[in-house]
Amino acid sequence: MSKHELNDDSVVVIVGSGAGGGTLANELCQRGLKVVLLEAGQRQSTATFHNDEWFAFNQLAWLDKRTTSGNWRIAKDFPNLPAWICKTVGGTTVHWAGASLRLKEHEFKTKTIYSDVKGANLLDWPITLADLEPYYAKAENKMGVTRTNDIPGLPGNNNFKVMYNGATRVGYKTVHTGRMAINSRPREGRSACWQLGFCFQGCKSGAKWSTLYTEIPKAEATGKLDLRPQSMVLQIQHDKSGKATSVLYADKDGNHQLQKARLVCVAGNSIETPRLLLNSSSSMFPHGLANSSGQVGKNYMRHTTGSVFGVFKEPVHMYRGTVMAGIVQDENGMNPSRGFAGGFELETIALGLPFAAAFLNPGAWGRDYASLLEDFPNMAGMWIVGEDMPQESNAVTLHPSEKDKFGLPIPNVHYDDHPNDIAMRNYAFKRGAAIYDAVGATRTVEVPPYPSTHNLGTCRQSELPRDGVCNKWGQTHDVKNLFISDGSQFTTSAGENPTLTIVTLAIRQADYIAEQCTKRNI
């Protein structure tokens, strides 16, 4: 590990150490650049992880107050917890389940292909699948994704057996244990999956890829990385020419520090990234940094989700083994005859008893709910993840009055389900229930969305500066040495779990940044 000076203006400052920021940090260090990585959370390790749902949630999750509005059920069930994401070194790659899917070709061009979806602010990405393919290959190799690079799939657990049998009985064809960034064999000094079943709590065996114990130590080994945990970035500052010059942050003791920078990359996940830009407004950028389009914070997406749990006469013990143990992919294509644009995946999910009680029907109590929980050992579960529509009014904004402990406005997250989202969710609920009914479910339960685990789109890529915040490299249209390096870049959400694409974009961005620095363009 190295230490860079606060007044060293040759460093790249990266905000956030998750999928985007952690990967970018390593990629830039490997290319010889000096990096200061500022992370709001503490550093944990496989040794400090706990296989305990509530404990881990409190240890790892982002719990700073946020508010919500809109007609999504989250605003009712979890009004101060719109998103389930992490504040810790490694970001949400500590919590994530590991499902790693490429976006499909048509998903980069939904404005063209879905034509006019009323009320949706669709836009084509400024890149295509072909642009990303070589980088997807690098990302899959880096992350050790199963069913790529000759890495075998993971063995299916009981939860998958139920999904497989049900799905094939209703006629689905593409059903397997998925493409997972979880070792099925020891690889790169990390063990194979122990089937612990606590993937969401930090993988104690280290089998699951997380920037915490892959990218970050590799970057540290180069001697180029200065990682500063418990450093909350408050503002990005600029000079008279509109170039970013430095980053103001609060260190672990709450003292303000000013770090100079050659360039700044923001990867705080799709709520904090736009919040930081909005909180960095100045007389030159009165509506927030890099916001001449007015799109900073807009088009917030969170995927169309929901879960289906099935209860059976015989035991399942869904919580034993990988949480996302398998996938049904037949519904992920385009098929408007279903009554909606876009597609979705069905992936197994499992909750332990503490979270099952909290999430199966938030707020419910009484005999019926207690009896459902008594069926816990005989339950199987699956999660829906589908493309949701970008809407300009779905937005992260600054709260008009409430402030955080640093005196900065907290974010409000507004989300209305689009009719397309509702149609997809209702259809997917029925298909999920049909899968379980086909193998003898005595009861199926439709479970509303959890706080958002996938948060996307609030600083989207666009060809034209007026339509979005950054270009096809994640470089903001307005400030040449300011980059968006996380899921906020997504122009549309696509129907796949986003992290493989976030990592892919970060690797590609690193190439561009290194080249631009060499050419002295930034």
Partner: protein, 178 residues
């Protein structure tokens, strides 16, 4: 945003915080009423019946619910506002024309609770119960959840794929373990 909605989940998350940070599920003997720091015997008895109605499990004996009441007692001790919320809530439950809550029939108790389910008092009790009852290894055992498996090397050799009432998927879909 409606105030009670805020309270509901604020409370849910906070309860999780409280339980996880203390990390303690209190010890309670199966055959005796525990001692409380702030709750009066009648209050404790009312809360016991109330917590049983909120998440009623015939598989669980009173000890499981006394632990929840213990958590509420600890919360009262730590925070006077919580103590008042609980004391006032219990007093209100016990002031109904049908008599004391603990003496009511099951259905009367249910009706009484339905009448107050949107109050901060009910939601406080429910959220503490949610995060402590179902976080108790004794309850896991009774309800058939095995919990963490790290100390035994994971479920990889402990039944992660032992389901036998359905055929095994082909290896192309589900390869054999390493």
């Amino acid at each position: 945003m409606k105030r009670r909605d805020f309270l509901k989940t604020g409370a849910l998350v906070v309860a999780g915080t409280a339980v996880a940070i203390t990390g303690l599920i209190p010890e309670v003997r199966a055959d005796a009423v525990p001692a409380f720091a702030t709750l009066k015997p009648e209050e404790a008895e009312t809360l016991l019946k109330m917590t049983r109605q909120i998440y009623p499990h015939s598989k669980l004996d009173d000890a499981a619910y006394w632990k929840v009441v213990k958590q509420l007692d600890t919360a009262s001790q730590a925070d006077p506002a919580t103590a008042k919320l609980l004391a006032d809530g219990v007093a209100q439950l016990n002031s109904s024309s049908s008599g004391k809550f603990a003496g009511m029939s099951d259905n009367q108790q249910l009706d009484a609770l339905k009448g107050i389910e949107n109050t901060p008092f009910f939601q406080k009790v429910q959220s503490v119960e949610l995060a402590s009852l179902y976080n108790d290894p004794a309850v896991w055992k009774a309800l058939g959840y095995q919990g963490p498996a790290y100390s035994i090397g994971g479920y990889v050799h402990h039944g992660f794929n032992d389901l036998a009432w359905l055929p095994d998927p082909p290896e192309s879909a589900s390869p054999k373990p390493a």
